[in-house]
């Protein structure tokens, strides 16, 4: 398999953190949380306080892979009138002001309704580097992948404990940005302990992917990562950050934990 001709800003940012001897940090916040304006303040604060890549959630009415914390936050965001179009406008207005590459995470239907071609063009114009679409397995991703490739956007695959070696290889063959390893057979949400099998499966995945490997779902603190340190290049956290902000604390103090 040949490497993609262009360099992914996301991959570069993760590698840079790794070269500095640390795991790349990828915080997630749904757009519109804690409210429409505070969201952008928090994003800027995450950017200044050590986020290597920032994942922005596109809220959807029917989030079938999310646990209660993210689901409730996204629902509030929808009630505040957040749409994919408004997220892109907001990013466009701040283009250049956020130094971490931006990844949008959202379910397929809002992108479908926006139109894949139109979305790709507007996303590039807004400075977006890639997308994570949790309800888009490889069986359904041909069309969007072709469009993303033509526009230089990364489509980040999700894999997990029950993904076969065959499927890991298939995802690896044309992954760009990073590969998202889901730590549990379950939905998003912070957990005290991660399943024991994670360690072995991560090693397998690490041996297959050439793009960086990020661990997400269930991550709340750095000490959870000790067991997998060798296999992962980046860590993603969402529910734990949302909880932290709900307690009235700042994004900056959350990022402090990870330094």
């Amino acid at each position: 398999m040949h490497a993609p001709a262009r360099t992914s800003a996301i991959e570069t940012a993760i590698r840079k953190a790794n070269a500095a001897g640390r795991k790349a940090l990828i915080p997630y916040l749904p757009c519109g949380f804690p409210d429409v304006t505070a969201f952008w303040t928090e994003i800027e604060s995450l950017d200044k306080n050590g986020a290597d890549v920032i994942e922005i959630g596109v809220p959807f009415s029917d989030p079938a892979a999310d646990g209660p914390v993210i689901e409730a936050a996204s629902q509030e965001c929808l009630e505040r009138g957040v749409t994919l179009a408004k997220i892109l406008e907001g990013l466009k207005a701040r283009k250049g002001a956020i130094s971490a590459p931006i990844v949008l995470m959202g379910y397929l239907n809002p992108f479908h309704q926006y139109g894949f071609e139109r979305f790709a063009a507007d996303a590039v114009a807004a400075g977006v580097s890639g997308c994570i679409i949790p309800d888009l397995p490889m069986e359904e991703s041909d069309e969007i992948k072709t469009i993303f490739k033509a526009n230089g956007l990364d489509l980040i695959p999700l894999v997990g404990l029950n993904t076969s070696v065959e499927r890991l290889r298939a995802y690896a063959s044309d992954a760009s940005g990073f590969a998202y390893f889901v730590s549990v057979l379950g939905t998003t949400g912070d957990r005290e302990v991660l399943p024991e099998e994670v360690s072995a499966k991560l090693k397998v995945a690490k041996g297959i992917f050439t793009v960086p490997l990020a661990l997400g779902f269930g991550i709340k603190s750095p000490d959870q990562l000790a067991a997998f340190a060798e296999s992962i290049d980046a860590v993603i956290f969402g529910s734990a950050l949302i909880r932290h902000l709900r307690e009235g604390k700042s994004a900056a103090s959350f990022m402090q934990r990870w330094k």
């Binding site: 959807f60 009415s61 029917d62 989030p63 079938a64 892979a65 646990g67 209660p68 689901e71 409730a72 629902q75 929808l78 749409t83 994919l84 179009a85 379910y107 397929l108 239907n109 809002p110 992108f111 479908h112 309704q113 926006y114 949790p134 309800d135 888009l136 397995p137 490889m138 069986e139 359904e140 695959p157 999700l158 894999v159 997990g160 404990l161 029950n162 993904t163 076969s164 499927r167 889901v182 549990v184 057979l185 379950g186 939905t187």
Partner: protein, 394 residues
């Protein structure tokens, strides 16, 4: 065309974590469902437990009133009172033969929940049913039925707190418990292979209807087959047999809600647009931003913002026609069937009856029309009471 699609519709739009159980299910369908042992046991259950074949009944009075030959396929006479049990017996038997000790389901009105709880009880499976909190409150009788049958009912408080949200929760449960659990989905919806699996279990309706019709009339085929469409399982169950026979008109009837402009309704085929929900590309009720809109019907079983992908394809190809009937028309047909034929139909099924009664001129005099009477109306007495009171006031 990919095998998981019907025309442009269908597919497997699910998290990667759900692909292995979908493959496992596909393999089980090929190896177990299509095998003689399953088919023998399933046929036996349908005959001895569900009470099949259900009668095909020519309504003498409605036929005289309309000048048509109106036939009802009496799914209301099945055990648990609707067509839903055809599917749940099939899926519960499959779960047993796959070695899955637990099944889960989503339910709106509670009919599919009751049918799943019933199948689980008789097969000795643990059963959990997800139900929107709004539906738990308005369908209290069915919650009690499920509990009597040994099922755990989980109230879902997210989103609109109705069927679509219950479906999301069922998918989440399945992600976490896929090793022990079969997801007994309630209609011809969801990712491949569910729409085909459920259709095939329900297709006994059309097969029986065709041979009963031939035996009773000496004729070969009816002029039209008509069924209400929520998720679309009773309709696909009736239609499937007739799709290859171009002379048979296929008519699916959706719920138009109150029928006033701008009202909430459940007519995703007549008024929706293509999109992706619950694992499939299909016709949906959604806004310009791709958010799923709330649905409404007096018939709780039709109250769903999507529909089966095979219906979307049958509409796109023109093989089937989809029409709308509003709450008032359905209720009028409900009362006519009670008074003229002595049959209390489900409000869902009343939509199909209403379309025929209100559109007699759409058929030629003497046409044989088979309507799927998908369920009985006992479950609807509370809402019928309210409708009658409102009529008296109005």
């Amino acid at each position: 065309m990919k095998k998981s699609y019907f025309g442009d519709f269908g597919g497997q739009f699910v998290p990667e974590l759900l692909m292995p159980p979908l493959f496992e299910l596909e393999k089980a369908i090929a190896e177990i469902v299509h095998g003689p042992e399953f088919q023998r046991r399933f046929a036996e259950l349908l005959a001895d437990y569900v009470g099949r074949p259900s009668p095909l009944y020519r309504c003498p009075n409605l036929s005289a009133d309309t000048g048509l030959n109106i036939w009802l396929k009496r799914e209301d006479l099945n055990h648990t009172g609707a067509h839903k049990i055809n599917n749940t017996m099939g899926q519960a038997l499959l779960a047993r033969m796959m070695g899955k000790p637990r099944i889960i389901a989503e339910t709106g009105a509670g009919q599919h929940g009751v049918a799943t709880a019933t199948a689980a009880a008789m097969m000795g499976l643990e059963c959990v049913v997800y139900m929107g909190a709004v539906d738990v409150a308005r369908q209290a009788h069915n919650v009690r039925r499920m509990e009597l049958l040994g099922t755990t009912v989980v109230a879902v408080h997210t989103g609109t707190k109705t069927l679509k949200d219950a479906t999301n929760q069922a998918f989440k449960d399945w992600i976490a418990n896929q090793r022990t659990t079969h997801y007994c989905i309630g209609s011809v919806v969801g990712p491949h292979p569910f729409p085909t699996l459920v259709r095939d279990f329900q297709s006994v309706i059309g097969r029986e209807a065709r041979s009963q019709f031939a035996a009773k009339t000496g004729g070969d085929l009816p002029a039209a087959v008509v069924a209400c469409v929520g998720g679309g399982s009773n309709a696909m169950g009736l239609f499937h047999e007739f799709v290859p026979h171009a002379s048979v008109r296929i008519i699916g009837v959706e719920a138009a809600g109150s029928g006033e402009p701008g009202c909430y309704h459940s007519a995703s085929l007549c008024k929706g647009t293509p999109g992706i929900l619950h694992g499939a590309k299909t016709q949906l009720l959604q806004d310009a931003d791709g958010q799923i809109e709330p649905s409404h019907s007096i018939a709780a079983g039709l109250d769903y913002p999507g529909t089966g992908p095979e219906h979307a394809a049958l509409k796109a190809s023109g093989r089937a026609t989809y029409v709308c009937v509003n709450d008032a028309q359905a209720f009028a047909a409900f009362k006519i069937l009670c008074r003229r034929e002595g049959i209390i139909p489900a409000l869902e099924s009343s939509h199909a009856v209403a379309y025929v009664l209100d559109n007699v001129s759409a058929f030629a005099p003497g046409d044989h029309v088979i309507i799927n009477l998908s369920g009985r109306g006992d479950k609807d007495l509370d809402i019928v009471e309210q409708l009658l009171k409102a009529e008296q006031k109005g």
